[in-house]
């Protein structure tokens, strides 16, 4: 290309093809190098520092006692989630119902169970038999038909499930409620105008749309409950965290056994996150104008 002294109004040739030089980002490279160096140091430490004691880790990661404890942890999570969310849905519907009374009951429940620390609640349920030795069925303030010993009725495991589920329900209620109120009111009106029965309005029209905002929060709660089950170690239930404590109490390999628990928590949380991905994909049907990609609808 030559530089002409005279500017021309009508260029006879095509506009010049100019090369685009991308902007440089030197600090990005500095950052990448710094992170890589730190990561390499960490991995090096994992391998060379004998304190991690990988031999012990390998011995206990699939030990029968640990596997049994993982099962207990999963059981606690499953019951806590199932009962917690079932109760949470009922509480959310009560809170949104036209009955002021039901709404007040639901609000009070949430207030109470969000106010009490989980660990305090667990200890309370664990010790309930000191407070009420016997549960009696009968006419209030009148005669008793049957009585149960509270100790027989509520085992330590039962107390733990009860505590986790009741705690979870308070949070689940708010998550479900936030999902329901995020659905456009016109949806409920359209369903009502079509005469769709009330239960069906909720199940078929409102809930699937609410699920989109419920799911990320609910998964958070499930994961947090999953790890939160470690709290029930205070009432001596053989879940994962309690079990590794028992083992390192015996052999004093604290770090290796904490890593055993950590590895299981990470592995199972990863599974939950993957499940979340697919469930969210299911509920994203029709959510975007773009037929192929639901990516931005995540």
């Amino acid at each position: 290309m030559s530089v002409s002294a005279q500017p021309r109004l009508h260029a006879p040739e095509d506009p010049p093809v100019l090369k685009v030089v991308p902007a440089r980002h030197p600090w990005r490279w500095v950052g990448i190098v710094a992170v890589l160096v730190l990561a390499a140091q960490f991995v090096n430490g994992l391998v060379t520092n004998p304190g991690w004691d990988w031999a012990t880790f390998a011995r206990f990661i699939t030990a029968e006692s640990v596997l049994r404890a993982v099962l207990v942890t999963l059981e606690l999570t499953l019951y806590g989630t199932a009962i917690g969310f079932a109760l949470g849905i009922v509480l959310a519907l009560m809170r949104l119902s036209r009955s002021r009374f039901l709404a007040a009951v639901s609000w009070t429940y949430t207030w109470a169970f969000r106010s009490i620390p989980l660990i305090v609640q667990l200890l309370f349920w664990f010790n309930i038999s000191y407070l009420y030795q016997e549960l009696r069925l009968g006419i209030p303030f009148g005669p008793t038909f049957v009585g149960f010993d509270t100790k027989d009725l509520i085992s330590p495991m039962g107390a733990a499930v009860l505590g986790l589920a009741l705690h979870q329900a308070a949070y689940a209620a708010e998550i479900v409620r936030s999902g329901i109120i995020s659905v456009d009111h016109g949806q409920l009106e359209a369903a009502a105008a079509l005469g769709v029965p009330r239960a069906r309005q909720f199940r078929r029209i409102i809930l699937p749309q609410a699920m989109r905002s419920i799911l990320p929060n609910a998964t958070n709660e499930v994961i947090s409950l999953f790890k939160g089950t470690s709290v029930v170690s205070v009432v001596a239930i053989g879940e994962l965290f309690y079990q590794v404590q028992v083992i390192y109490g015996r052999n004093a390999r604290v770090v290796a056994l904490l890593m055993v628990a950590t590895a299981w928590y990470i592995a199972l949380t990863t599974l939950l996150s993957i499940a979340q991905h697919y469930v969210e994909k299911h509920y994203a049907k029709g959510a975007t104008r773009d037929r192929e990609g639901w990516k931005w609808a995540r």
């Binding site: 105008a193 079509l194 769709v196 029965p197 029209i205």
Partner: protein
Amino acid sequence: MGEVMVHLQGVRKSFGDNEVLRGVDLEVRAGEVVVVLGPSGSGKSTLLRTINHLEKVDAGLVSVDGELIGYRRRGDRLHELREREVLRQRTHIGFVFQNFNLFPHLTVLENVVEAPVSAQRRPLDQARERARALLARVGLSEKESAYPRHLSGGQQQRVAIARALALDPKVLLFDEPTSALDPELVGEVLDVIKDLARSGTTMVVVTHEVGFAREVADTVVFLDGGVVVEQGPPSRVLDDPQHPRTRAFLSKVL
């Protein structure tokens, strides 16, 4: 024209201390097309929503095909109906919303089939067959497995009309059906409504489209300040309005 299909007597409705309807009387006969015009805030939409009990009236009576809506009369007492009974009554009254309100997570066909199956307990394959016929009627046969968000506004509103028709309602109510549409999409929706009018569907249409009212309405009702100011055939109300408020409104919109 047939017997009285929709009958409103002295209907009143307030929101807080704002009285939106101040005693409205209206008669719609079977096969009649009534177009309700009026300035915004005149109570047109509220009036329409009292007919299917989306709004509970404070006073007055609403009946469709001789059946009192929302209440049961015993002597000189009105007993409020339970929600289930109100929902059953609504299956006889089709309603088309300004914002379509299609169910976005259901396909077009599922949208149309939902109420016949769940509210009228029709067998699914029979409801599907009927839904396909209705989609063909509104010109959307090839869209049955699309989701609402994949359709234009005009197409969505036509699906909403098919959805309302699927219940075989005695009367069809339209709440500003073209107000949320781009101008070039208004025509396709109005064409569908005109087609329904020609086939003898009883309709009450709240709209701003005066041209449509002139072409399709048997009766034009002019509502202002929560009362019916003037009503009659379009030739009289639109071309020779008697009331100064009707004249003022028409001079603004024409």
